[in-house]
Amino acid sequence: QVRQEAAVANAKALIEKVNEHCFERCVPKPSTSLSRSEEGCYSACMEKYMAAWNAVSKQYVSRMQREQSSAGFIGGGSL
């Protein structure tokens, strides 16, 4: 149950960020309806944001693992 709530919170945060970034970029001047090109941009932007989030997750986790398997914890990655 705790886990499910965490997953929901995580998905919500992701959706919020998608809306924040993609509305900013794809709808610079909001008019009386979303145009086809705005919709297309939004949908590509959403896909891209999720791909970016995936890339960050992978890189972050792999970095963490490299750091924990190396000798120190703080000194490990700075040079």
Partner: protein
């Protein structure tokens, strides 16, 4: 005791998720240009990866420098 460990692990996961969200936010701004397709292009993908790595390098720098300040004062 097991419950406590479970709670701590979940809290740690939440912190990691948070870091991933804020890194994505920051690196998306730095690395993503025009939205033409839904895929990361050949410039954007390594930029996102480098962004994560360099951010963590830089954070370690800060911690190291703070450590130096504390021990030298």
């Amino acid at each position: 005791r097991e419950l406590q460990q479970f709670v701590m692990q979940e809290a740690q996961k939440a912190t990691i998720q948070q870091s991933i969200h804020s890194l994505t936010d920051m690196c998306f701004k730095k690395c993503i240009g025009k939205i033409s397709s839904g895929k990361l292009d050949k410039y954007e993908e390594p930029c996102m990866q480098n962004c994560v790595e360099r951010f963590m390098d830089a954070s370690h720098l800060v911690l190291k420098q703070l450590e130096n300040m504390r021990t030298s004062s």
